[in-house]
Symmetry: C2
């Protein structure tokens, strides 16, 4: 039951409803965590989510953030990615697959769709039998800005 393509607010409402429908209770903490993750365009660390949530509900604890993210991953509404020498980054389960590009020099993260990656994933499948999932890890490199401004 993958999340279907919807406008952000509609998706959020649907997710809240589905979480409840699965028998989980809807606490203010949980709702705010979900809202934060679903309204953010980018990728957030647990710490960033906590910070955002605390602006609206002061007493929330980092443990609660982790526990909710874990639960939301289990039921498929949230994913995390390993972007390098940083804490894990969390984001809503994507409606379209994408890959992360992380700049080795400035740390900027950009996303690309999987389209340019499909030929290579087919080649890898043919050569090795390994089926690449293009959504979880990052590709390291040098972003345009750093490439054009710096040497080497």
């Amino acid at each position: 039951m993958p999340v279907t393509q919807r406008a952000p607010e509609e998706t959020l409402k649907a997710v809240l409803a589905e979480v409840r429908a699965r028998g989980y209770r809807m606490t203010p903490q949980r709702q705010l965590i979900l809202e934060t993750v679903y309204r953010s365009r980018g990728h957030l660390t647990a710490e960033a989510i906590l910070k955002a949530v605390r602006k609206r509900f002061a007493g929330v604890n980092i443990t609660t953030v982790y526990r909710n993210l874990e639960m939301l991953e289990e039921i498929g509404y949230v994913c995390h990615a390993h972007l390098g020498h940083t804490p894990n980054m969390y984001h809503p389960t994507e409606r379209r697959e994408h890959q992360h590009l992380v700049c080795r020099r400035c740390g900027a993260v950009e996303e690309i769709g999987v389209k340019p990656l499909i030929p290579m994933s087919k080649a890898v499948l043919n050569e090795t039998g390994f089926e690449v999932d293009l959504t979880h890890f990052a590709l390291l490199g040098t972003c345009r800005h750093c490439r054009e401004s710096g040497a080497g």
Copy 2:
């Protein structure tokens, strides 16, 4: 000054010599750490390196392993990769670039050369200006064995 293509033992000797030539001292710990990394075909955690080294020199400390790996990375003889929910994996600086394939189900790690990745890195460069470095991160997916034996 990248490491050139040589037989493993010859590479090891050359690296030992070059480390010395750069003014670093050659302690038994350092030598054993280098030997362990260079003789292993795969990728090792700091803990695994420690274990291997201790078989031949009991008193070695994990701190020493980390410090030597850090030094060896600085001078370009060792690299590390983020392979997922595991500690960092260390390996000799590769004579040819490669990418890691990590199986989401069984955890097996395989390598592929960069050849099948070149078209995509060109596409990404054209589309976004981002220059992908194909050696540091892993691609997650499902290996042939798990794909053929399991469902979904």
